[in-house]
Amino acid sequence: MFIDPLWLAASLIFGIAAGLLPGLHPNSIGAILTPWLGNWESWPLALVVLLGVRLALQFLPSILVGTPAGQTELGMLPGQRMMREGRGLEALAVCGWSVVLAVALALVLSPLLMPILPALFAAVKPWSGYLLVLASAALMLAEIKDGKESGWLGRWRGPALALFVFLLAAALGWLTLNLPLTDPLFALFVGFFTMPALLSGEEQKAAEKKQQKEGQENPAFVVRELLPFILLGVLLGGLSDLLPGLSTPAQVATLATLAVPLAQPAHFLALVASIEASHTTFAFASAASTGIARVGVVAMVGQMQPITPADLPALWGAFAVAAAVGAGALLWIGRWLMPRWHALDWKTLGGLLGLYLAAMVFWLDGAMGLLVMALASAIGMLPVLWGVKRTQVMGSLIGPAILHAFGF
């Protein structure tokens, strides 16, 4: 595979512009432009470059305005929490460092994992359904409140409500994933997370919080603090490529909330960003060794030109350059934007954001996408109203994964 250096530069610039827009995923760009550009020699790697830049840059709109980030979707939760605390720039720095280190670690580990991926795949498969059921139960049981609880079901009220939300989300998720939508997860997760945040005013509170300016402390300390979570994220991201039925790293990230509570948002953000980064990085090796592409762009590249082990250096190289440029852009743009963000008129902007997201959902998936988003918004309001964890809506992915694992 080859990309002309001039086109590499152009792809990086285009990637930065597209990466700032929620909903404009390289999958969508690829689907639209490949019929015209698919025969152009540089196009497969140009798509990989778009993917790499977006990998890092997507956390900017995710943290600023709470839109779903990549395939983990959950990155917005700790990011928005940090925005509400005035630590938005910290959140961006955590994401930038995590993406860069996770991509580097995953690239080093990829050649080691390639020979053993198919065997690991076969070994894990019989147990995946049971693991998912256990993990989901643990997520719900975590809703038990300590202390005396009066009223309906007492201390079991939380798990009961969580189960209800989980099952509703699972039903919607199962229906949605079986519809012929271009980007079903975008409609689902804008509905589950972003719209309720806009409607409940959380979005506005986060945006109007005056953000800190750039910090002064020793950055090496930041890396030491984050390394265990980045390492865990790299391993979990590789697993998410491995486990059948776990179609996105979002499910793995949800399960990770059991290990890393959202009470420490910076750590969880590092974990989620690393899962996202390593999942994408491992996807190239997975496609070359097993023939299975778990990332949309990688699948598109494979259709244009079969991915062989001989292609991996070029793919990895393009991806590494793009991820580094994306991480740099994330912090450079964020450093300029964050101190000014709170001064914007968020009453108006929040409404415009909602309209933009609805328009994106409609552009991608038409009226059906809007219906999915509306239903997801209704379900997404329930955790806000009932005080259960919003991660229960990840039943939308875990539920179908459990059904798939047991053969339904």
Binding site: I3, P5, L8, N39, E41, E85, G86, R87, L89, E90, A93, G96, W97, V100, L101, V103, A104, E208, K209, K210, Q211, Q212, E214, G215, Q216, E217, N218, P219, A220, F221, V222, V223, E225, A266, M304, Q305, P306, T308, P309, A310, P313, A314, W316, G317, A318, A320, V321, A322, A323, A324, V325, A327, G328, L331, W332, R335, H342, A343, D345, W346
Partner: protein
């Protein structure tokens, strides 16, 4: 409008926000970009592995790119370029063609019996026969 009366919380001691001015982050980025460029442009270009059989080329759409590896059964030097027939172990054959002046240097020494690794575009000749228009190629001796 924004909340300007409330002061920002002190930066927690466990996390700071290095920003782009941080030397370590910048060094990390530069290193990663240089390493990526080295992989992209300096890594030796290897031959394409067999991913598409000669039989499947017959099913491909015009314009599709293919990575193909098979033994050479014949080499024809023509005024228009070099035409090579490649046949796999099931006797499925396909022609690979490089126009005069555009073919990779390897084709000048290609001989029957050698393994040819080709990366190119599926094209359709007059009459409907599909062939591979060679973009890159490399040779291995038979049995290598």
């Amino acid at each position: 409008m924004g909340d300007t009366s409330e002061s920002s919380p002190p930066i927690p001691s466990v996390i700071s926000s290095p920003g782009l001015s941080n030397r370590h982050f910048s060094i990390m980025l530069v290193f990663m970009i240089l390493a990526g460029l080295a992989l992209l442009y300096a890594w030796p270009m290897d031959s394409a592995y067999l991913k598409s059989s000669t039989a499947s080329v017959a099913l491909m759409r015009e314009g599709q790119w293919v990575a193909l590896s098979a033994p050479i059964s014949s080499v024809d030097e023509r005024a228009t370029g070099t035409s090579i027939q490649m046949c796999d172990e099931n006797s499925h054959c396909v022609r690979a063609f490089a126009a005069q002046g555009t073919g990779p240097l390897e084709l000048a020494v290609a001989r029957p019996g050698q393994m040819l690794n080709v990366w190119g575009e599926v094209a359709v000749a007059t009459g409907g026969t599909r062939f591979v228009r060679i973009h890159r190629a490399s040779l291995n001796d038979a049995g290598e």
